[in-house]
Symmetry: C2
Subunit: 141 residues, 2 copies
DNA sequence: TCATGTATTGAGACAATTTCTCATTTGGGT
DNA sequence: ACCCAAATGAGAAATTGTCTCAATACATGA
């Protein structure tokens, strides 16, 4: 998830204190892969800063969300998961087994620019998910 | 949400019993607008079938989800909300205030066909969300 | 360096949402 | 009308998210 120190730097620039719990959380977000739930952030964060509390995880994730640095998404779980707030995220989600496949290119820059103008909206990222039935679940049917 | 009786008919065709609780739930989904949470389905469903239990709502929503007839999404809430499992859903979501704007056309049919072929995936719907800062929150900054 | 004031934190109570269990009921094929 | 697997309701339990408040730690300036 982006260059290391990216999130901490953005927090500092926005005028927030760079505390030990926050450092642990952003380090987890930057190091570990994608799609982390708040509970996963808590568990991983405690390896770095054992006192870390659940409330602080939620508070920091909300903070980063409001700054547009991360964004919540929904996958199979019932839990919210967080992805990088910049750029694009592209999934194929199987409605039967919950499997998630990723792809790279989507070609919606044109549409994004159009919408940004029409709604006077400053776009920072997007999520494109196709929902349907994966190969395996098609044959098992 | 689609022609009336659509969901009930699909359930029946898939071999599931058409019970009173299920009829109430699909009627709610078809009549009421979009983005219903499970609790909203429960409350509205009880107007039709007062005995309706929370567990049955969750069970039926999961059933419909696995059949690809509806799909869960995430909005401002922490609760899962359900939308029609066919076609497209398009949102602009403000990361600051949580406001959600909708738009109609997206023009990704080409990409959808390409991915369906590449992943051997039977696509039934898609969700396209742009994430950023709305007009109001831009000025209040 | 050190004192100061405020933002931030941890702990746990609390609330909301989702899942599970199991005895009972019911739809639909016969 | 009968039968039985499928489905249900009720509530316990688990998971996820929010809130409160006294204690702490960061950043700023002396
Ligand atoms: Zn994209
Ligand atoms: Zn699948
Ligand atoms: Zn679309
Ligand atoms: Zn806004």
């Amino acid at each position: 998830m982006e260059p290391s120190g990216h999130l901490a730097e953005a927090l500092r620039r926005a005028g927030y204190k760079l505390t030990a719990p926050r450092k642990a959380i952003v380090q987890v977000l930057e190091q570990e892969g994608k799609h982390l739930s708040s509970n996963e952030v808590l568990v991983l964060g405690r390896r770095i800063y054992p006192l870390l509390s659940r409330a602080t995880v939620y508070r920091t994730l909300e903070l980063l969300t409001n700054l547009g640095l991360i964004r919540p998404i929904l996958l199979n779980d019932t839990a919210q998961r967080y992805v990088n707030g910049e750029g694009g995220h592209h999934h194929l989600v199987c409605s039967v087994c919950g499997a998630v496949f990723e792809f790279e290119r989507c070609g919606i820059d044109r549409l994004a620019a159009e919408l940004a103008e029409r709604f006077d909206f400053r776009i920072r990222s997007h999520l494109l998910e196709f929902y349907g039935i994966c190969r395996t679940c098609q044959t098992h049917a």
